[in-house]
């Protein structure tokens, strides 16, 4: 529990150096920031859209050589709509990077399971693992073909590293038809030997993957999302059990999730502290 590093948690304004449409509802926003560019996969930032809101977002691209980082954002509400209207050269504020990161030490052969914008933190993870010559089975899920996020980027990483990519869409418009968790289950049942499963995406999907990892006795890490305010471990908005997602997470191990299994995948607290279904 290292707490807030004063330099990191100070808000900096940065100019967007590029804005890229990834799908019809998802855009990536690149900005220059030394601290963010040196972050580890899994860490997040608080992005301030001046005059509108401040929201937590995973870092989806880390380039320490260029001093650049990015966030990848789905248009879902007022804040993300305002961000989607922004163009290259516009100013946002960032605080962070905050939180822990995925554990990559001792990962020899891994399974990465991502759905929706969960790919934001998993893409830089795959890039880091590929550099360390880790063998990767990447399971990429989406509702439909046009929602597939980072398909080309992940294919590229895996083709260089020699990994396996399994794409699953719920409507079968691309790759296998069904839920990505079913594809994961099939691989594990076929005896795919992995020593780590990483996942990020809808919480019910992550909960399903947690149960699979428990069943097949595989180490497990999931990156959780909760409402956040302070991001420095004070306000208590993002707590799950005794953990603060902003400080003790956002990445949690299977062991930690076992401790909060009555809460994980079931409910979370709203901004008013009341429990709502996940």
């Amino acid at each position: 529990m290292s707490g807030c590093h004063t330099v990191v948690s100070r808000m900096r304004t940065v100019k967007l150096t590029s804005v890229t449409a990834e799908t019809s509802a998802v855009k990536s926003f690149v900005f220059n920031d030394e601290l963010c560019s040196k972050a580890e996969p899994g860490q997040f930032v608080m992005v301030w859209i001046p005059g509108v809101d401040e929201v937590p977002m995973s870092l989806s691209m880390l380039n320490s050589r260029k001093g650049q980082a990015a966030v990848t954002v789905e248009r879902v509400g007022e804040a993300t709509e305002a961000l989607h209207r922004m163009k290259t050269g516009d100013t946002v504020g960032v605080r962070g990077p905050f939180g822990n990161s995925y554990t990559v030490e001792n990962a020899r052969k891994v399974m990465i399971v991502g759905g929706g914008t969960g790919l934001a933190s998993l893409a830089p993870l795959a890039e880091k693992l590929a550099k360390a010559r880790t063998e990767i089975a990447f399971l990429l899920g989406a509702k439909t073909r046009s929602n597939l996020l980072f398909h080309a980027r992940i294919s590229d990483v895996l083709s260089r590293a020699g990994g396996q990519l399994v794409v699953t869409t719920e409507d079968g418009s691309f790759g296998l038809k069904g839920l990505v968790t079913a594809s994961a289950e099939r691989l594990l049942e076929q005896g795919e030997k992995v020593n780590m499963v990483y996942t990020c995406g809808p919480e019910r999907m992550m909960q399903e993957m947690f149960l699979l990892a428990e069943r097949f006795h595989v180490s497990f890490e999931a990156s959780l999302e909760r409402f956040m305010r302070c991001a420095i471990g004070l306000c208590g908005t993002c707590v799950i059990g005794r953990y603060r997602v902003c400080q003790d997470g956002p990445v949690f191990s299977g062991q930690q999730l076992r401790e909060v299994k009555d809460e994980f995948g079931r409910w979370r607290r709203g901004f008013d502290g009341r429990k709502t279904k996940v």
Binding site: M1, S2, G3, C4, T6, S9, R10, M11, T13, M46, W48, P50, G51, D53, E54, V55, T91, G93, R95, M228, R229, C230, A231, I232, G233, L234, C235, G236, T237, V239, G241, R242, R244, Q247, R269, G270, F271, D272, G273, R274
Partner: protein
């Protein structure tokens, strides 16, 4: 921890004089229990009103270089009815430290009703928040008037048998006058102080950083102001004073106790030190008390008032 550190405040027994300040983490039973497990001598919940509130939009927190933190959460809480369940859950399995529920209301009657609900759920004491500096018609708008403070305390005292603490705002001309009004109306302890009204502006975009524009300043910049408030209040009233404002080390805690605080509340420092701050502060205070030749931490309370 040694018995040297035991303190008593309005009948509550604390194993050490450190407390979790209101507004920090205290939304859930598990968070409050964790603070106790990590060494807090008592915990204060987040402020709870009668109805659920989502609070303000983000940014709700901004760091101010060299000073501390600005916040304008806007009193988010689940409402006394829901929060009563958290208190009940917390107290059900037994605890080694008292739980104080912080409450707020828009009228004296609301303060009293929220106090009644949470006392009934098991809170050992109530802390009246008449000092939140950024929500209209409550908090410091009440705490700036000795007459309103007196009314709020009186109604809360009528509603419950438990001790009633009151947390005061530094945003007044004379904090002693307010403390005296509270004690005269029956307050069992004074908590000094809540945050100071403050703001920060981003010079690149010209926007105030906090969504609410104005918030409250906590952390190191507040400490000398808080020490002065504790010192002045201690001289004027005969109930225990609890210090709050910028406490991050055992030296800070000792300074507050010498000024007259029977216990200290810690909040902002948790951002940099985690919940381990309670143990490190109480350990340091214990060593200080021993090395100075005192038998109990109680002997240093108000020591700086001798002339």
């Amino acid at each position: 921890m040694s018995s040297r550190l035991t303190v008593e405040i309005a009948g509550l027994r604390l194993s050490n004089p450190t407390m979790l300040a209101a507004g920090i983490l205290g939304l859930s039973a598990v968070s409050l229990r964790e603070a106790i497990n990590q060494g807090a001598g008592a915990v204060v919940s987040k402020s709870v009103g009668l109805k659920p509130r989502s609070g303000y939009s983000n940014p709700a927190v901004a760091q101010v270089e060299g000073c501390g933190l600005l916040n304008a959460m806007g009193l988010p809480n689940s409402g006394a009815g829901h929060f009563a369940e958290e208190i009940y859950e917390l107290k059900r399995d037994g605890l080694r430290a008292p739980v104080i529920a912080s409450v707020f209301g828009f009228t004296a009657e609301e303060f009293a009703e929220a106090s009644r609900i949470l006392a009934k759920a098991g809170a050992d004491a109530i802390e009246l928040n008449v000092s939140c500096p950024h929500v209209k018609k409550t908090g410091s708008e009440i705490g700036q008037s000795p007459r309103l403070v007196s009314e709020v305390v009186r109604k809360a005292k009528c509603a419950i048998a438990n001790p009633v603490f009151i947390k005061l705002t530094p945003n007044v001309t004379d904090i002693v006058e307010v403390a005296e009004a509270a004690v005269e109306a029956g307050a069992d302890a004074i908590v000094a102080i809540n945050t100071a009204r403050a703001m920060a502006i981003d010079i690149e975009t010209a926007y105030p950083i906090l969504a609410n524009r104005i918030g409250g300043l906590s952390g190191p910049a507040l400490k000398p102001i808080a020490v002065r408030c504790v010192y002045e209040i201690y001289e004027a009233v005969d109930v225990p004073v609890i210090g709050c404002g910028g406490i991050a080390t055992w030296q800070d805690a000792v300074e507050f106790m010498l000024a007259g605080a029977s216990a200290v509340q810690i909040g902002t420092a948790i951002a940099s030190q985690g919940l381990g701050v309670f143990r490190s502060v109480s350990k340091g205070v214990d060593t200080y008390v021993r090395e100075k030749g005192f038998r109990s931490v109680k002997e240093i309370v108000g020591l700086s008032h001798r002339r």
